[in-house]
Subunit: 358 residues, 3 copies
């Protein structure tokens, strides 16, 4: 199959990507392009999630315009019913046994997300799905959202692996002068790129004042603040962030004197120049208060939307000047190393393909 | 003349296409691209319809932005007046005798439509215009509309030559289970591709209940239903549809016990990936009641708009996967044979061009 | 630097173009593409205007999304501060000495406009900036506006150097039959192309009736009307227009018996197929009455917006038929000669580049 969308692939294919949230998959099928493939997601037998090519083998209609019947996805054009294996199941008045199958993508529902493996089916290993301990614990609460952003997903990884930009892009919420004054440290820990920064004895910016209030802590006292960004393949960035009352140990302080959370970022390529950005926050304070979840989601959504214009315009600039070299400063090391990890993964897949083709 | 729009032509050029309705051509010229040619349609001397290239030979302004004066089309930029032959007629302060002519397209006004012949002028034969007996008879009433659809006109022909899709796309109006359960028969009758289906002893779907009411017939009794789709070159599909009270002879039943009509479809290519869809219904019941015409037009417009998303998304899918082979099932035979007839017509024109070029 | 936008340049680069008005440049930087270059304009030290490439040398973000601090333009992404020379000035925690500079464009603020020189910095000569005597005199008033138009800037020059179109495009305001009946005279005067037309003893069209009223003159008497269009490089068109009471000398009549003004047109290329159109009117009547300025601006804006559809559709037609030759009539001589002057300027620059490259 040649496919215009996936002709060039600046992403690893053999990996679990977040395709949608569980809540997005209700009674109707959902069409979404992931890693250059038009896919349709739906709940089949007993609510089991399935993902197929969004292309009816009969006449090419998108299956996502169809409907579900007895656990099968039925094309809304002429009624071809598909099994979740990608094989035609039935069609009124037709023998479908010899219909060509379409691609079925391995898919897992876990942690409130639907994860898809766009690459080789045989290589899809559930054990490789990113583990989210907070999503399995009653001691945490989570809220989040989804943005469609018209830029290369790697620009978003750069963005999240260098939080210096908070001082500028998010000046009124989480940015503060001390961020870009604090030195950043970048290292590889196992299969993660980690870039971290600590800001001792600072005044909490507005977002963290809110969090301190929620945690029942004073918001006007000096705090030690930290940011630990963790990139892992294919394109997940988990950022441990928080503030502790000054001198209590910062990141390692007793939970009673700190407000902390994990900024959760799943960055799923759509096409070469666009991606789906699943963002959210997992927190350990006020976990039973849905009003706090809503307030944080609202605030976080507002903050992340500030990045949109910058990223999309940066993308336009880069497309207009493809030959221009960008700088790689120390603050960019997190993004640079993450991209190297991505490149290695892609090269590894290519090597594997070469071997397989011989 | 090289012309980007008409560089590739997946349609016959030497044929009469519906360009617009008579009602669309009032006092102002109308610009419309037909078969890849930007054309301007207008009423010249004594209301006679004319069609020219929509390109002023002076500076390339679209003549459709101009106006009519004394039966000539005057360019709205600098006042060049064109004759309906494509020759410049006059221009203030200029001798226009040596101005290069632009293309003039043969055009006929008949049956309430303006028909244009985009191909060789010399070959334009009024006798080849599709005959519409119902349009000349007082025993019929007609109402219709126009959609612009962003897909290859042949996808619309496929759509109309296989009404199986009614069960799925139009489930709430004319679709019913029995359609895709009834076998379809496809044959070539002279210069027509005919595909037909009969559904004996079914319950009438909502649209036909309405028609039965209009015809003064009971709407809750079982009926024999039929659909006879007739394709003819270049891209017309006339569909005889109706229901008769059960056991009275179906399509051939006495007019007093049936409600029937002709779904009229003129499918005019605009570009390779878009077309003008003139749809309507000619009926033999309640012919003097304009309220019925309006109700049918409203219902038919709603039904056909259900096809739009499906066809445009099907087109997007096909463009993304140009190498994918589609299936040709028995239900697709109507479309497949119609396309073969189109291909032969195009090949015939190419052969003729080759001869002419030697 | 290779740059997709400026790969083909149908405009002289070594010239002063109007980039924006002084009023457009307040506290925030302004991003605007001029002659294929994405530029950012801002007021630096002591309000001095500067223009840089709109491309942060760090990661390619548009500097126009940034802000001003102490006279430096600060990137809104990671805080790199740029000097107006195009050199990096400072960045928190970084040594910027070796950062690659970006292009800085020569810029002058004069006559209420910001003028930019997109070409060779060394060749930028303030003396070459178009002189506008009326802008320095208390005897004149000026008002104007800005349109973004999706067509080649040269189509606008054609438009303005042949006012025959007023009869057709602006029939209800400044157009009148006598315009295209009056012979046009075109000549080159020094570095200007001049095309002029006089219409003796005509009735004033609506716009000029308004001007006559403003000037305290009778609006219903016959007038002598004139239009003198002056093109100068790179793309300025100044049009002396006016009416005088009949037989008083026309253009040379005593100011007491005439209403006259200069239609001011700065036509700045954005890309090959779009431009910025700075239009306005400088007048010698009612100079102290801002209500007249507003009324003229409103009327002129309405008139010029009538040209938009025509020019943009003309552009579409020309792009679809690139091989079609246009006519060059006597009325087109102004545009034709202006284009020749532009071609010579471009050829001169190319010759210069060839020499410089040896």
């Amino acid at each position: 199959m040649t496919d215009k969308l996936s002709a060039e692939r600046p992403w690893p294919r053999n990996a679990w990507y977040v395709a949608c949230t569980s809540a997005e998959l209700a009674e109707k099928p959902l069409g979404r392009t992931i890693c250059g493939e038009r896919m349709v997601f739906y709940r089949g037998h007993e609510g089991q999630v399935a993902a197929l090519e969004d292309f009816c083998p009969h006449r090419g209609a998108p299956l996502s315009l169809g409907f579900l019947r007895d656990g099968h996805l039925v094309c809304g054009y002429h009624g071809l019913a598909m099994a979740c294996t990608g094989h035609a199941e039935s069609m009124p008045g037709q023998r479908v046994r010899n219909f060509p199958p379409i691609a079925a993508f391995p898919v897992i529902e876990r942690y409130g997300f639907i994860w898809v493996w766009p690459g080789d089916r045989a290589a899809a290993d559930p054990a490789k799905l990113h583990h989210l301990p907070w999503a399995e614990s009653d001691g945490w609460a989570y809220g989040g959202g989804l943005f469609h952003i018209a830029c290369d997903y790697r620009l978003m990884i750069d963005n999240l692996m260098d939080l210096t930009h908070e001082t500028y892009v998010h000046a009124s919420s989480i940015g503060q002068r001390e961020i870009d004054e604090a030195p950043v440290s970048t290292r590889v820990e196992g299969e993660e790129v980690v870039t971290s920064r600590t800001m001792p004895a600072v005044s909490a910016p507005p977002f963290w004042r809110m969090a301190l209030r929620c945690a029942g802590l004073p918001e006007d006292e000096p705090v030690d603040r930290w940011q630990i960004c963790r990139f892992s393949l294919p394109s997940h960035v988990m950022i441990e962030v928080g503030v502790a009352l000054q001198g209590q140990g910062g990141h390692d302080a007793d939970p009673a004197v700190k407000a902390s959370s994990i900024v959760v970022d799943f960055i799923t390529p759509e096409t070469e120049h666009s991606h789906w950005y699943f963002w959210g926050m997992a927190r350990q304070f006020a976990v039973d208060d849905p009003a706090v979840t809503d307030a944080i989601r609202e605030g976080q959504g507002r903050i992340f939307s500030e990045d949109l214009a910058m990223l999309e315009e940066q993308q336009r600039n880069l497309l207009l000047r493809p030959d221009r070299r960008l700088l790689k400063l120390n603050i960019d090391a997190g993004g640079v190393r993450s991209r190297m990890m991505i490149e290695r993964a892609i090269a590894g897949e290519r090597g594997h393909e070469t071997v397989a083709a011989q």
